[in-house]
């Protein structure tokens, strides 16, 4: 199955693009997705401990199983709202 992976901030810069299409076995989890993407972009390992995921624009745990056409995002620690 194919899922769309959106990349932001430091993750986007490592990947070199705001979006990837990743081909995965049916029933894969977010962890499996991330392992695959990290295989392609090893520098993502530096973010791994702090990264959150969203699936279809909701934060999701890393054991969540994905479905075809899901929109996943790699979400580094957020920092909106000014330095205050």
């Amino acid at each position: 199955m194919k899922v769309r992976v959106r990349c932001f901030a430091a993750a986007r810069e490592i990947v070199g693009s705001g979006e990837l299409i990743v081909d995965l076995p049916e029933g894969s989890t977010l962890t499996q997705l991330f392992d695959q993407v990290q295989g392609q972009f090893p520098r993502l390992q530096g973010l791994a401990g702090s990264l959150l995921f969203s699936v279809n624009r909701e934060y999701a745990p890393s054991d969540k199983r994905l479905s075809a056409d899901d929109e996943v995002a790699l979400i580094p620690p957020v920092s909106g709202g000014a330095d205050v």
Binding site: F8, A9, S54, I75, V78, S79, G81, A82, D83, V84
Partner: protein, 136 residues
């Protein structure tokens, strides 16, 4: 009014958007790009958002506020793109019949925005740049 924009922010449109005939108080908050950030000289900031998720997350914060306080309306707008020192990165306005609700809800809104809304800030200094975490 919940939005992400690359245009300069001002409070007046948010205040107008939230004021109802039942509103006795409008509390508002602006986040401004400061000169000093942990001792390094910031040249400018770059903000980036996951817009399609950030706006629903702002609406969720507004829903949380409505469950906690009696408020009239809530507006939150975050700017993205290139921001210079002194520019406004986020504007929030909350109206309520009474001041304590408006003030408490406004403080809650900025706290939660910083925790849950997918927006990122990169600091650019004379000698480098870095994506900043939530404590930054």
């Amino acid at each position: 009014m919940f939005d992400i924009t690359d245009q300069p922010l001002s409070l007046e449109p948010l205040v107008s958007a939230v004021t109802r005939s039942s509103s006795g108080a409008v509390a508002s908050f602006l986040g401004v790009v400061r000169e000093q950030t942990r001792g390094r000289q910031v040249l400018y900031l770059e903000y980036e958002a996951y817009r399609e998720m950030a706006i629903p997350k702002m609406r969720e914060i507004a829903d949380e506020i409505r469950r906690k306080w009696k408020v009239d309306e809530i507006a939150m707008v975050h700017r993205i793109g290139h921001l210079e020192i002194g520019e406004v990165s986020v504007a929030i306005a909350v109206s309520a019949p009474h001041r304590h609700q408006a003030l408490a809800a406004c403080a809650y809104a900025i706290d939660r925005l910083k925790e849950t809304v997918p927006i990122w800030k990169k600091e650019v200094w004379t000698d480098g740049e870095e994506w900043v975490g939530p404590s930054g």
